[in-house]
Amino acid sequence: DAMVIQNPRYQVTQFGKPVTLSCSQTLNHNVMYWYQQKSSQAPKLLFHYYDKDFNNEADTPDNFQSRRPNTSFCFLDIRSPGLGDAAMYLCATSRGRGSYEQYFGPGTRLTVT
């Protein structure tokens, strides 16, 4: 089945130790998003790619970076995780921006110790 896959599902990292989360899709969608979701809060968009075009949200900390080496894969790098970065990280894809359905992956739960 076509889907959005995120690995790992659970990640524990130490304060300040770089961590990479991955997302892959078999939908061949143009757009890939990264959201941060903290407990009982709305998903907050960090950035997205439209094909190879990277779009950063103005309030996304510099600590967060992303790579999209090809259509299928997208990575979220957190260079120096702080305790406040503990959250669920959701990857989503869509055929286009705006008025298109977003397909979400199952998420990666990040714990920072």
Partner: protein
């Protein structure tokens, strides 16, 4: 600009109806509705485009009042499986095609 959802939480008995509202201070081009069960990813329900359309499937439907910059999600004859947090996402007219999600409405259906 984050949309405002109301109510923040609601408890229903099976078979009861519910309405969840989503409003924005800006003119909207589209409204999206998603449901997220605890510990799972959000799942798409529907998108409504400006033009005041209504949509629905099964017992879940929604309306979009473009003039009032509001959308409502209607859950009819609720089932246990409807439990979860419902998010609306709004796309502002003339904006850069970004969807911003509201804080969510937690819905619990009890037997």
């Amino acid at each position: 600009q984050q949309p405002v959802q109301s109510p923040q939480a609601v408890i229903l008995r099976e078979g009861e109806d519910a309405v969840i509202n989503c409003s924005s201070s800006k003119a909207l081009y589209s409204v999206h509705w998603y449901r997220q069960k605890h510990g799972e990813a959000p799942v798409f329900l529907m998108i409504l485009l400006k033009g005041g359309e209504q949509k629905g499937h099964d017992k879940i439907s929604a309306s979009f009042n473009e003039k009032k910059q509001q959308s409502s999600l209607y859950l009819t004859a609720s089932q246990l499986s409807y439990s979860g947090t419902y998010f609306c996402g709004t796309e502002v007219s003339g904006g850069y095609q970004k969807v911003t999600f509201g804080i969510g409405t937690k819905l619990q259906v009890i037997p």
